[in-house]
């Protein structure tokens, strides 16, 4: 049942994307769009892609809130790293450390790891056993991760989904 | 006059014979019967053309148009008539002889032998009746190819080497030089049809004539003009009937016949003489004639000696052509027939000696004449004919050649001809003399050398002796009945 729901919602999302991409609303192209969406959903199901990981509709609006916050973080860290790069003294002090990823689900861990990577200054190098190995450009950015603010926010997304 | 079927028949008969022979390969008697029948039928077919040709007719037949303006086309004229008669006639003798020889020596692959023989004869007929140079060339090549298996008949490394030389020189010269000459002729004259008076006459001039003549003369490797004569001695490894075929019936005769044809019908004797390009050819022929005779003197192997004798005798024909006079041409043409008859006799004898005694070296033949009187008697007759002594056929051809030389005032040539006759005497007669007059060596050594003839030396098998007797008789006949021959050939020299 959940699978069918996922499939339908995926189909709808895809169709929306189609319309956005296409910009044509002639019957012919709409037909093609529908056909396309059906085919893609069918293949996706064959590929076993359509589940809560592959199509995380359950995250709902929370994800957008997180995105906004993340963008802010990205801007901040960007400016920080940019400063360091153009500073003639090149004030960097790379570190490599493990930090805990407290998310229950794999999806959550992925979002966390990617978020770390997205913010310049820190890069996730490895994800294993509920921890993330992070490479940081400077002590400050390392501290920012170690603080655990991002970890908490990602956990709050409850990516595990109702399974 | 439409005896054209006879032409095609004489081409077809040996071919059909070849097929039948190969089909009857399992039953030797049938096979050899077929061979003989074929040979006879062929001779009859050829002979049926004689009256027409004698009467001045020129039967013709066209097979196919191979290239525009260049059909495979046959036309019987006197020279070809003569050649065809000689070849087909001698084939009968040769067939009989072959049967005796091949059986006597237990040769392998006899079927292939007879098949190739028949095919070679078909090619020879094609050459003899060819109505244009193209056709002649086609059959000339076919003859080379069909005789190749005969030369390499024994399959030994030596035979294969000989085969390579044979093929290499014959195909090489024909494709490399003769074909070029033919093409060039076509280019200049626009036709290749044998035409009385020559097709190049008036169309080519100056050095081109010389170059063309050179290309033709050395392109016709079968004429064994020095220095392209190597194939002929090399081919001596073949069984004796093959040697007879090569030397008397088909191959070398085809060569000199082609030379004659080229000189008479492509260049035209008058044209050639006027151009003056015949001079060097004359000298080459003369040189070949003498050198080959001298080499023959040094050979102890009987077949090798005969081979060089052939080279020398062929040069007579070429010389006749090179003289470019009517007598020369008649003499040369006659020499074809005369030499064929004489040389086949000699080869038959050599083969008979080998079959009976396994002897190949002249020095071993002392005293054999008494054991094999018929063989050595025939050898004597053949020798005398080759030397050119009356009352044998060879005398006529030598005579006309002398006349031809005299006609052009070439004293040198007359001298050479005479000298050559002396040389012939010197290398041929000792064989006979040795056989008859020298005592036989110790029996022990004879016994060791002649394993099959345990009970002393006897005549060769009857089937070997009869043909050589016949051909020896032929030599004699040719002296007395040369007139028809002359009348046959007259038109070509005196158009």
């Amino acid at each position: 049942m959940a699978a069918v729901l996922h499939a339908i919602s995926l189909g709808l999302v895809l169709f929306a994307t189609w319309l956005l991409l296409s910009g044509f609303f002639e019957p012919l192209l709409i037909t093609f769009g529908v056909a396309t969406c059906v085919i893609v959903v069918w293949i996706a199901r064959r590929m076993d892609l359509v589940d809560h990981e592959g199509h995380p509709i359950h995250l709902g609006p929370r994800i957008f809130v997180y995105w906004l916050w993340l963008i802010g973080e990205i801007v901040k860290s960007n400016i920080d790293v940019a400063k360091r790069i153009i500073d003639p003294r090149l004030p960097i002090k790379p570190t490599l450390f493990w930090t805990k990823a407290s998310q229950q689900s794999e999806l959550g861990q992925v979002i966390y790891a990617n978020s770390i990577t997205l913010t310049p200054g820190t890069i996730s190098v490895r994800v294993a056993d509920g921890s993330v190995l992070v490479h940081a450009l400077s002590a400050e950015s390392a501290a920012g991760i170690a603080q655990g603010d991002m970890d908490r926010r990602v956990s709050a997304l409850k990516c595990g989904g109702p399974d | 006059m439409t005896p054209a079927p006879a032409i095609l028949l004489s081409l077809f008969v040996p071919l059909a014979g070849a097929v039948l022979i190969s089909l009857s390969g399992r039953w030797p008697n049938v096979r050899e019967g077929v061979t003989l029948v074929t040979a006879t039928v062929l001779f009859l077919a050829v002979a049926s053309l004689v009256p027409t040709v004698m009467a001045g007719g020129r039967p013709e037949a066209t097979l196919i148009e191979m290239l525009p303006g260049l059909p495979i086309y046959f036309e019987v004229e006197p020279l070809g008539m003569l050649f065809a008669l000689v070849a087909s006639g001698l084939w009968i003798a040769n067939s009989i002889y072959s049967i005796g020889y091949m059986r006597g020596n237990n040769e392998a692959n006899q079927t292939r032998f007879y098949v190739c023989f028949a095919l070679a004869l078909a090619s020879t007929m094609g050459i003899a009746f060819a109505g244009n140079m193209m056709t002649l060339f086609v059959f000339y090549e076919a003859l080379t190819l069909t005789t190749y298996p005969l030369v390499t008949h024994k399959g030994t490394p030596e035979a294969m080497r000989a085969g390579r030389t044979y093929l290499g020189i014959l195909l090489g010269t024909s494709i490399g030089l003769q074909l070029l000459a033919i093409l060039w002729t076509w280019q200049i004259a626009g036709t290749l049809d044998f035409t009385a008076g020559g097709i190049l006459s008036g169309k080519a001039s100056g050095p081109i004539v010389g170059v063309l003549l050179l290309l033709y003369m050395y392109g016709i490797g079968k004429a064994a003009l020095m220095p392209l004569h190597r194939w002929l001695p090399a081919a001596m490894v073949a069984p004796t009937p093959v040697s007879a075929l090569l030397h008397a019936v088909a191959v070398v005769k085809a060569g000199v016949f082609t030379v004659m044809k080229v000189v008479v019908y492509i260049f035209g004797i008058d044209f050639l003489r006027d151009s003056g390009q015949n001079q060097w050819l004359m000298y080459i022929a003369a040189a070949t004639l003498l050198i080959a005779s001298l080499v023959a003197l040094t050979k102890d192997n009987l077949k090798a000696r005969l081979a060089y004798s052939t080279i020398s005798q062929l040069a007579y024909v070429v010389l006749g052509a090179a003289l470019a006079t009517s007598w020369g041409v008649i003499g040369g043409s006659m020499q074809i027939a005369m030499h064929a008859m004489g040389k086949i006799t000699l080869f038959f004898c050599a083969g008979a000696i080998y079959t009976a005694t396994r002897k190949t070296e002249i020095s071993d033949m002392a005293g054999l004449g008494r054991a094999m009187p018929f063989t050595f008697g025939a050898f004597l007759i053949g020798s005398l004919s080759i030397i050119g002594l009356p009352p044998l056929g060879g005398a006529w051809s030598k005579w006309y050649l002398m006349l031809g030389a005299a006609e052009t005032g070439e004293i040198l040539m007359i001298a050479i001809l005479m000298l050559s006759s002396l040389l012939n005497v010197a290398y041929l007669l000792p064989v006979v003399a040795r056989g008859f007059f020298l005592p036989a060596p110790q029996p022990a050594s004879v016994g060791a050398a002649a394993a099959p003839a345990r009970g002393g030396i006897e005549e060769a098998p009857l089937l070997c002796v009869v043909p050589l007797f016949l051909t020896a008789f032929g030599c004699l006949m040719l002296f007395f009945f040369a007139d028809p021959l002359y009348r046959l050939l007259e038109p070509i020299a005196l158009p």
């Binding site: 490895r126 994800v127 294993a128 056993d129 | -």
Partner: protein, 95 residues
Amino acid sequence: MFVAATLAILITMALALTRALLGPTIYDRVLAVNAFGTKTVLLIAVLGFLTGRPDFLDISLVYALINFIGTIAVLKFLKFGDLGTPGSENSEADD
């Protein structure tokens, strides 16, 4: 304005290119290639505006996509030395 962006992107590309040529490790090259790919995406987007035909952004999208797939292939190659292995199904660890 687009000119400025174009120039900036070209400069960045040149820098990435330098890195790709310098190496020293193959990872540096891959990084440079990856960055270069992103820059190309931008360049094409900007060029569309520059030439007044901004409706060809599909190409940029394709670039981004291909770049991603290419990088994954590269990494898989680097890690496993071949492209067909799925790896062991059970292990959750990354190595």
